[in-house]
Symmetry: C2
Subunit: 207 residues, 2 copies
């Protein structure tokens, strides 16, 4: 069940591979070639070979990849057999949008709860509870939370980040448009939406 070092681009193609492979009947034809996969999914054959090599090693000469084994390996990459739990702090518009986004589960991550600095309880049309910050540390420890998502404003982001680190979180996905300090050993991934849009605008003006 070890996860494999794969690029974000490869990771993004895995759900497509899985959907296709699951539509086959490995009882009848147990192997499939990279050529067939690449034609079916309209991808370059070299890319398919590289992706699959990262995930499950090379195919067998003249046979290709064993479909059932490949499906298992691809599922492992997505962590489908071992859901990773995350918490989110900041149940504003963006936080709620993420809570109601149902695309995370297919990549093996589930937001177990959201927390908010301001209000004790909030009604929301989502299955995920929104809890007061007083319960944060205990919840993270009890549920063995590894990932923290920061959707508070710039002013509270560092404080929330510190609290996450103290509660044992080792990977932080930050949407606040500011630099955060994390101790070594904690992964930080910034999602600066305004910057992405500005970058698109600047690329456009090159044409």
């Amino acid at each position: 069940m070890d996860k494999i070092s794969i690029s974000k681009a490869t990771l993004g193609r895995i759900p497509g591979y899985l959907d296709f492979l699951r539509s086959l009947s490995p009882q009848k034809v147990p192997y499939i070639s990279a050529t067939t996969i690449s034609k079916e999914l309209n991808l370059g054959e070299v890319q398919v070979r590289k992706d699959l090599a990262m995930v499950s090693g090379a195919g067998k000469p003249r046979l290709g990849y064993e479909i059932e084994f490949l499906i298992e390996r691809l599922e492992d990459c997505l962590g489908r057999n071992k859901i990773t739990l995350a918490v989110l702090v900041g149940a504003g518009k963006l936080g709620r949008a993420l809570l109601q986004y149902d695309g995370f589960q297919q990549f093996g991550v589930k937001i177990a709860a959201a927390f908010d600095l301001r209000e004790k309880t909030m009604s929301i049309d989502s299955a995920t509870p929104i809890l007061p910050m007083e319960q944060f540390d205990l919840f993270c420890k009890e549920h063995n939370i590894c990932i923290g998502i920061i959707t508070v404003g710039e002013g509270s982001a560092q404080q929330v980040c510190d609290r996450m680190v103290e509660s044992g979180i080792t990977a932080i996905w930050n949407f606040a448009p500011c630099k955060l300090q994390v101790p070594s050993g904690v992964l930080l991934q910034n999602e600066h939406l305004a910057l992405s849009l500005a970058h698109l605008r600047n690329q456009m003006s090159q044409d």
Copy 2:
């Protein structure tokens, strides 16, 4: 007012440079060195020199950068003197979160209107109007819209994308978790949030 080819990382540091430079009094001391900037902003000096070289060329020997000129050039990079208008299609949770996010303006992009496939009018606590799709093409042409933001679901994303291209939009920022086909000459930037989270999870499990 030409925009300059700068990396996303450099772009992200520009608001910080600007805040600092604007706090100075160029009437008294018209020049500043890369060393001073790097110390003040806690950045590497080499990085500061690279960033500023991209934006305004090298500083003058023994004097440094002329502050007022540097501010102007940095502002040009952010497009602050020429706001680029965008429209958003899909006024669901994520779309509304983006509408109410106030970080875009500092990077010179403004969401002029949102459109929704389902409802004719919607109440929202935002200054940006939410309009029915029937008005889309005319609005884009009248306001000379260059950027389209897609926050509809996977099922309608290609249709919305096509409509944007037909309306003269040349840069698309796509949040739907699917591959879109755009003609050559149209920029497409995908923001696959689930994939970003999955990538963070996978990096974590390498440790």
